[in-house]
Amino acid sequence: MSMIRPDEVLETIEMIDRENLDIRTITMGISLRDCASESAEKSCTKIYDKITKLAGSLVDTATDIQTEFGIPIINKRISVTPVAMIAESSDAENYTMFAEALDRAAAETGVDFIGGFSALVHKGYTTGDHKLINSIPEALSSTKKVCSSVNIATTRAGLNMDAVAEMGRIIKDTAQRTADSGGLGCAKLVVFSNVPEDNPFMAGAFHGVGEPESVINVGISGPGVVQSAVKKVPGDDFGAVAENIKKAAFKITRIGELVAREASRRLDTRFGIVDLSLAPTPAMGDSVAHILEEMGLEKCGAPGTTAALALLNDAVKKGGAMASSYVGGLSGSFIPVSEDAGMIDAVRCGSLTIEKLEAMTCVCSVGLDMIVVPGDTSAETISGIIADEAAIGMVNNKTTAVRVIPAPGMKLGDTVEFGGLLGSGPVMKVNSFSNADFIARGGRIPAPVNGMKN
């Protein structure tokens, strides 16, 4: 291997210092399948013991890697088997105590978040799924670090409209119970279509049933690096833009691969995947919207935005796929509103609407993310937003999600401050024509014909 040149050393340092390159998360996935018990109390003890044993040195290991390689590792997280599957063997009617056990384990291990207070109900509910979903509002309002997700559709199974209707009500209830923090509970709750089982990002991370006993998944980030790559080809055609993004994505993913392998070796845990997502933060120079604007749009949301995002998402995947042996999770570009300075600006100036964001989710990873809507938005309207987004995922064989916050007492023009990585969300306008009769139908929208691939 030829000697590293000074300009290459400086390029790496500039990416970290000036362009906010970081490892967004090292997430340890832990199976809880051996933690079920007839006694809920016993099950919670098993869960706490297993998590604290396996992830006991996760935070210290991540800190060591950060020091030795000089790359910031922002979050350390844990994902677990969807709790509905474990808790349903027990005598509990309300699963909040399971969330509290997760929260204690998260506090003990020092991680930032723990995900997996989840249920997979795309084709229907088990008894445990019902209990878990009904426990979500209380669980999210009585814990700090627990994240919850519910999968309500897949391309193979169709779209569970009963769950869609219920999740509208659950989101409203969760917002009410966390009203003093602007409905913060909803920021920890995602409704998915085609949810991936190895996603390291929150709030949607859980440890899928086909996963090993434990696993290390790493999420990378670097919108600033990509923006600067686009900046280097002002006025050039899209071939040049795509080429530069690919190169940048390759470089940042290689760092993710290095950190993932190093972490899994040190923790004696299998390496799962690198999730090559562009995850923005509210910090300046860490915005996906600004990448799109760098391509020549006055504001994110202007006509051309969806095409720009399609190019970005594809080029990130192409560059990243070459840089890691195992790519997974959500892998693509995120477009959360409250977590992205450029998106917030675009909403404030009227350039970006929910409808445009919905279109954008057709060509990027995930979906309507961290969107604050007026507090008086009805449960049915939220269900309708979920149904539309899930349909996009289902028909296009991709993951989509909704993380929407009906902030109690807030109305158009207000801004909700969540703080930290969650940022601040301007309240967005929602189409308020009634869909109540549509949502009331219930049942299941059949799987699309393109799900029949055998």
């Binding site: 291997m1 030829s2 000697m3 590293i4 040149r5 000074p6 290459e8 050393v9 400086l10 390029e11 790496t12 340092i13 210092d17 060591d64 020091t67 030795e68 390689f69 000089g70 790359i71 470089k251 290689r254 760092i255 691969e257 290095l258």
Partner: protein
Amino acid sequence: MKSFITVIGKDTVGIIASISQILAEQNVNILDINQTVMQEMFTMIMMVDTAEPKCSFSELSEMLTEYGKNAGLSVRIQREEIFNKMHRI
């Protein structure tokens, strides 16, 4: 195990001497040095052998950062793998 030390900041007398002294005290051998001064900004990249330092890697890192803080410089040490991974296939 090789690492890169990078120093960026305003050029003053004795930067290399100070860093070298810290390294010698901790049994860290210097393998290569590259430095440039552009518009009074000093950039030095030093390749060192961190296989058997007297202190831990994080302590060494702290010593260098601490020196940098006092001298008004950005000083860091990083294992070479991060650069190899990013810039070599």
